[in-house]
Point group: C2
């Protein structure tokens, strides 16, 4: 999917909501556990109940890997279900991969070709030749970790390299990579005050923003500094939506939570688009 | 496996060789392509032919992921084959994962429990809480990326934070993590001159060293500065061994290449153990 197609969808739905599918067997409603593939059944129900309110879905790959081959089957069924039934939705493989060139190409092949995701999250530590194999895919996005929403972000990402924190060095250097127009960045919502500086370095790139909700970030604060004239934000919420209820009403409660966020987004977008 | 058990195996075999299983369908001997699971058949043949010369095997997870569910099946069969037939071998999931705490726990579960690997490679960019969930597993190792062997290593890893390159900051900080005795580090062989400084910071940890062979690193140079009194090195070779021949003699040629390295290692260890 192109950035323009994503933007068109955002305008149509008045939403820049991404729903994170971090699906843990110990947290899904008990009545689903008897199904043949409980994780896929759960995902299907959540997607069906919220697809008109969200523009993007982001399976967190670790949660599928943890169940081995069965987990990968659930993941494949989920992405196939989205691509078949809701092709307008933008899909993100939250995989945080990163390795040398020939290995990075294999990861890109896994997520872009075998799984047909629109984008994949990638870690920057190994530098240019670990990122460019992902960027080489046309109409796909590479979402590079810049500033994450966890406490450990202060260990290395905010360390000063000269006068600049490392995450700003990552933003600047990555803008020189081949096909940098295919880049998006992960920027955690728990640090809204950083968005102003980040937008000065990457005014045009989309930012994937985790940490609204369960991790304590505030939507208004993020939008104040993060929005650009193509919106330029995908706000992710995972647990706050998918685990809104652990009962048989989990679909309805997930929709309620998604609707609250979509309405807030619609208000924020008023007069801007 | 404990570090002591790994050391015992190194002494017994007079080898600190790790064989990387970066198995690409386009590179394995054509006569295997008709088999039911060509990747597993290839791995099994390589392991059977070299298990007495190497102490460790390192599947590069990307190469399995790229083939989707079938690839994960090949990977699972490979690790099960090693654990059943050669339980003394030390296994490394070269996955370079890294994510926030609850997600990192899921990755740890995938590789340590579902797959029963002895260790997994992890990226440091997201900091302490992305690494500690791996370190929490008893008798397992977390192999943290410090200085990698690719050109992109100079993008961020060697950038100065104050007076120290980032990879040294990663080494120092990670030594303060809970269960830091379960840490090993990835240090690329293409930069042998760095080993002296690295050993000053982490005298006791094992270092996993890719880049000998195909990537141009030299074994003697690495050992000169990298060896410690428990050897403390695992030298990885992938393509130089597993693709030594693309014909029906691939097993014999792989053994020849492994034997060359093992003999060189045996010479280096003389008088040291």
């Amino acid at each position: 999917m192109t950035t323009q197609q994503l933007f068109e969808q955002i305008k149509k739905k008045q939403s820049f909501l991404c729903i994170g599918l971090d699906v843990d067997m110990s947290k899904i409603p008990a009545h689903l556990l008897g199904e043949q593939d409980p994780i896929f059944s759960f995902n299907k129900a959540i997607i069906d109940a919220t697809h008109d309110l969200a523009v993007s879905y982001k399976p967190n790959i670790a949660f599928y890997e943890a169940y081995g081959i069965k987990g990968w089957e659930s993941l494949k069924k989920t992405i196939d279900y989205i691509n078949t039934n809701y092709p307008e939705l933008y899909t993100i493989a939250d995989a945080k991969r990163g390795d040398i060139g020939n290995t990075a190409s294999m990861y890109a092949k896994a997520f872009f070709e075998d799984m047909s995701f629109d984008s994949v999250t990638v870690a920057p530590y190994m530098g240019k030749d670990s990122v460019e194999p992902f960027l080489a895919f046309e109409d796909k996005h590479t979402i590079l970790l810049a500033l994450t929403s966890n406490q450990g972000a202060f260990d290395f990402q905010t360390q000063l390299v000269g006068t600049k924190p490392m995450y700003q060095v990552v933003l600047e250097k990555s803008q020189t990579y081949a096909n940098a127009e295919n880049l998006m960045y992960v920027v955690g919502a728990t640090k809204a005050e950083y968005f102003k500086e980040i937008r000065a370095i990457v005014p045009n790139n989309f930012l994937l923003v985790p940490g609204v909700g369960a991790q304590g970030g505030n939507l208004q604060d993020v939008c104040k500094y993060g929005l650009n004239d193509q919106v330029g934000l995908l706000i992710n919420s995972s647990r706050g939506i998918i685990y809104a209820s652990s009962g048989s009403d989990f679909k309805e409660k997930a929709r309620e939570q998604a609707l609250l966020l979509q309405r807030e987004m619609s208000e924020i977008l008023k007069g801007r688009l």
